[in-house]
Amino acid sequence: MSRTRIPWTQLVFEALPAAAVAAGVIAFWQFAVGYWEVPAYLLPSPVRVATALWEKRDALLHAFWVTARASVAGLAAAAIVGTLLAIIFSQSRVIRTALYPYVVFLQTVPIVAVAPLLITWSGYGQRTVILVSAIIALFPILSNVTAGLLALDRNHRDLFRLYRASRWPTLLRLRLPTAMGHLALGLRISCGLAVIGAIVGEFFVGRGSDFPGLGAVMDRWLAMGKTDALIAAVLLSSLLGLVMFAAVNLLTDRLLHRYVQGTGD
């Protein structure tokens, strides 16, 4: 299938309005901080934030890398566990009825409340950060893949029944491929959540330690009143979310585009 390439000139024109807004906001921010003499510990100027970003580049880049690894691992764990649970859920209405309420319950429990408990069980380390990230990212993947495994095209289902395909070939050759589009959707929703989960995990894991992730350095700089470095870390967190979203979009477009073309009619 040939995919349409968007010319770079069109991309520039499309990005121009958003870039203009960003430039306007930064200019106003710089002006407002100077004009109203806002204290730097409340809101540092963009120039100070940029300076902090440059001065702390080594620590920030390392933190970015640590959090990125944890987010990717959390998302991957959520994708694997979510897909496996969805396969179990799709096998029987009884299983779904028995277990789904607990999944919803897990989703409604505030992760901030659970994180200290997870540290008790899993310790102060990367593993706990990945766990928090995976728990937050799990639900959209689980619910989307479950829906995908159950949303078979009627003719496809009849075709497999006609040839008396048993549960296993139907799962492998029909249900899972049908659910791939739903998995892609779940991953797109969950990739941002995985970053949030990793940062929340690092807030707790990093407290009182020298853990290097973005959440941990943010917590440390908050305590030290380094608002300029804190904002620089927040900007990097947002960038990480964007990079994750772009990477997941690119990967799912490349790998799963055949699976999201409807019923082949």
Partner: protein, 253 residues
């Protein structure tokens, strides 16, 4: 390539009641001798597709019997062509056709591929297009793949549910001709559901007109085989068209 021998179909007093107590089929008797074909016509919602699904074992009966019972014959003995091509979008044309062989476990993979390529060639699918995915195929090409997929197991019974309804007239005529040619070359028992009277007369040895969940009238088609589309111009065809058309108008009243 081995060819399954055609098998007769016998429906006795078949009834289907849907949830809510609506009788979709009631007391339907139908016999299709081995290697012969029957076309089912009738107004929308009269139970034609339901009967076809019953024969395929896709719809449970509320009453009556159908022979052969799908569960008693080897998988692949019956094939079904749906209204839509219903191809799997993640498989290319040749793998879509191989799918029934994979599911029934017939032949080694190279043999399955050879059979799929053979039937794709039989339905006029270009060798250069074997690796194309459904999203890259036209409606007519997809329907050819769907037909090849139904024929690849060399079924004794071929069930067709308005297979060409979504195609334009020219393509529909071509594919009907193709179906007739294939039927002449590889006779098998066929049941065709259609809204198109001409298609019913060209394909069926008998045309059954449904009327409110029952077969209201039966019209024997005595046109000589092969009945290619040229037969449409003949007087016998015109007479049959009139008879079926009148029966349909009666059923729609």
């Amino acid at each position: 390539m081995t060819t399954s021998s055609a098998a007769p179909i016998s429906c006795r007093n078949v009834g289907v009641r849907f949830a809510g107590g609506r009788d979709v089929l009631a007391g339907v008797d139908l016999d299709v001798p081995a290697g012969r074909s029957v076309a089912l016509v009738g107004p929308s919602g009269c139970g034609k597709t339901t009967l076809l699904r019953c024969i395929a074992g896709l719809q449970p009966l509320s009453a009556g019997t159908i022979e052969p019972r799908p569960e008693t014959v080897p998988a692949g003995t019956m094939a079904y062509v749906f209204q839509e091509p219903a191809l799997l979008p993640w498989l290319d044309a040749v793998h879509n056709v191989m799918l029934p062989l994979d599911l029934v476990g017939r032949g080694a993979p190279p043999e399955r591929r050879a059979m799929a390529e053979h039937w794709l060639a039989e339905v006029g699918f270009g060798a250069g297009d074997l690796g194309k995915y459904p999203g890259e195929l036209s409606g007519g090409m997809k329907m050819r793949v769907s037909l090849a997929r139904a024929l690849v197991t060399e079924p004794a019974i071929l069930l067709l549910d308005e297979p060409f309804a979504a195609l334009d007239d020219l393509l529909r005529t071509r594919l009907t001709e193709l179906l007739l040619t294939l039927h002449a070359r590889h006779p098998r028992t066929m049941v065709l559901v259609t809204h198109n009277i001409a298609e019913a007369i060209l394909v069926g040895d008998e045309v059954c007109v449904f009327d409110g969940g029952r077969i209201g009238s039966r019209v024997a088609v005595d046109l000589p085989a092969p009945r290619l589309a040229q037969a449409r111009g003949g007087a016998a065809f015109g007479r049959l068209y009139g008879v079926v058309s009148d029966a349909l108008a009666e059923a729609a009243r």
